[in-house]
Amino acid sequence: MAKTTTKPVSKASAAPAANSSNGTTPAVATETTYLEAIREALFEEMERDEHVFCLGEDIGVYGGAFKVTEGLQARFGESRVIDTPISEAAIVGAAAGAAHMGMRPVCEMQFIDFISNAYDMLTNYVATARYRTDLPCPMVVRGPSGGYVRGGPFHSQNPEAAFFHTPGLKIVYPATASDAKGLLKAAIRDDDCVLFFEHKYLYRRIKEVLPTGDHVVPIGKARVAREGTDVSIITYAAMVWKALEAAEQLQKDDGVSVEIIDLRTLLPMDDDAIVRTVRKTNRVLIVHEDTRTGGIAGEITARINELAFEWLDAPVLRVTAADVPLPYSPPLEDYVLPQTSDIVRAVRRLIAY
């Protein structure tokens, strides 16, 4: 996936974190990686609002397992960049308590796989607090997600579907550096809890020149990642890049014009963007990296069925991971996770219908 649509990042171009903390604009527009974009958002929001603070495992002195929070503690001190015990439930629970008091905590899950340890806190406490007792939880839970990195069953997960079913939460999963920055800033400013999934495969593999100024991307709005007329691919996160690769190939080999919708926010879902593309192309493929059964593709399919059934010329198809824990060995992982060729094959089936 990185070969054609993403650019490798040289060490020299990775701007040190301090550059983004002092508010100065670089003289020359430099490209920023997905990971650096997240770090920039954290710096800028902590600079902007003293209520924002970070907590998580090894995020302070060490700068986080992926170095997302590198430089943060040096700039903002130990009381605003807190190294915690290995206690995901306490991290999330304490964030909720701080949020009740008017703070805007940003929790890091060292790997998003460990968010399951805070499932109770998020679904029972945080997600219901406003509804139950008018006590908001303006907080963010973020962390490295996703596969293609040979991480095995517990360092590769995409747990969005487990939380997608919980009213009261918002879920964001950006595909680009620009959206990663803009959506994280929006998430920190949001008055409810936002789960912010970061794709670790994209961390250092994609980069772009970010918009200048206070770049905030609204939560709940999808984006058209590629305009097309024949088939729509509705997707998000790293699968946007696979879909773009497939679209290139289909354009070249088959003359098929593929439109790609990058959902960016999963909850609340942008129904308007979905309906718009269905009406335009009348053929829909949904692609996600998460497993198939009970996955978000099923919900999108149901919405299309309810909102735009008469606009369909073919059944909605899904390309997803197989329903297995994600295995470690490369031949196994590659077999389970969606590949560009799978997407090409599925689009051809839709066209042939």
């Binding site: 206690s87 109770d120 007792t133 009261g168």
Partner: protein, 354 residues
């Protein structure tokens, strides 16, 4: 500073109010006016009231009660009418009919509503008090949990987190002998819950939970330590749950005579009356005046709450998100609504009838 005579009488007032309010709720429950379950704190009024009384009313301290801590909420300013409306699921209850029993809070008055998942309020209160510390505010948090909740992961993670961060937090383990039907020896192999403090590197204290002045004093020491920046204290209060887990529970698992023995020998209100008579020369007339005030307040609250309206059904869709006034209603629900309005609702469409 020792408690004044007036303050000691106030402790009696809150204990009596707790008991009388719950007795009124039992009456309403038997009249099927309480919609859900009813949870009693009979015999535990001293630990809830005494501990909450150790917090400062004006300093911005915050408390998180558990299901047997109605008394603590009353001390913090919850009113009988709120409690009755809440139990009766009224539209103007503190949660607008969305939550049960004493699951409600008021940050302004210094208490946060609990959830049913035991132990979860410990991490939440760790975060509340972490904020006090970050802002260098001289405020204290207090969280009640039961003996059973000490077995949860959330308790361990929360108290450890707070201990490491030296949060100004008091954790009270209200040991009333039973978690639903499970006695202490099936909950822990430790000789006492207070022993757990050692493992977290924090001070632990144990007190007679049915002696309201002892509860006040042990909690006040911990509150003062927390306010001085000396971190978390674990307090075990020994008491006894004289009623079942909830009103439906027949307590068949309790050995014969145990409840009666506690009621006869160790009722916190009876004990406290003796103390007040002996040490403060409180007269029968003074007790009678407080009791009459409590009865009047509970009566008035009942009258008001009974007149309160039930919630509008559409309230169910409000308040999920800050930026969405109301979740969209579902088309078939709208159809039911319109059918009701035109008197065409088929019986098979369920119990919803606006």
């Amino acid at each position: 500073m020792p408690l004044s005579r007036e303050q000691k009488l106030e402790l009696y007032y809150y204990m009596r109010l707790t008991r009388s309010l719950e007795e009124r709720l039992v009456n309403l429950y038997r009249q099927t006016k309480v919609i859900g379950g009813l949870f009693r704190s009979l015999g535990q009024e001293a630990d809830a009231v005494g501990a909450a009384y150790a917090l400062d009313r004006d300093a911005g301290d915050i408390l998180s009660p558990l299901i047997r801590n109605l008394g603590a909420m009353l001390v913090r300013g919850a009113t009988p009418v709120e409690v009755i409306r809440q139990y009766m699921a009224k539209g103007d209850s503190p949660t607008k009919g969305k939550e049960l029993n004493i699951h409600f809070g008021s940050v302004e008055r210094g208490f946060i509503g609990q959830i049913s998942h035991l132990g979860d309020m410990v991490p939440v209160m760790a975060g509340v008090t972490l904020t006090f510390k970050m802002r260098r505010e001289p405020k204290v948090g207090l969280v009640f949990i039961g003996d059973g909740a000490t077995s949860t992961g959330a308790f361990h993670e929360g108290i450890n987190f707070a201990a490491v961060q030296r949060c100004p937090l008091v954790v009270i383990v209200e040991n009333n002998g039973y978690a639903y039907s499970t006695p202490m020896h099936r909950q822990t192999a430790a000789a006492a819950f207070v022993d757990k403090a050692i493992g977290y590197g924090i001070p632990g204290e144990r007190a007679d939970g049915n002696d309201v002045l002892a509860v006040y004093e042990v909690t006040k020491r911990a509150v003062d330590r927390a306010r001085r920046g000396e971190g978390v204290t674990l307090i075990e209060l020994l008491t006894y749950r004289r009623k079942g887990h909830a009103e439906h529970d027949n307590q068949s698992y309790v050995p014969d005579g145990e409840i009666e023995r506690w009621a006869r020998d160790n009722d916190p209100i009876t004990r406290y009356i003796t103390v007040l008579r002996d040490t403060e020369s409180v007269t029968d007339d003074e007790f009678a005046a407080i009791d009459a005030r409590v009865t009047r307040e509970v009566d008035e609250a009942t009258d008001i709450a009974e007149l309160s309206p039930m919630p509008e059904p559409e309230e169910a869709l409000r308040g999920v998100y800050g930026d969405v006034a109301s979740v969209d209603s579902l088309w078939f629900r709208d159809a039911v609504r319109s059918a009701v309005e035109t008197h065409e609702r088929p019986a098979a469409w369920g119990t919803y009838d606006g």
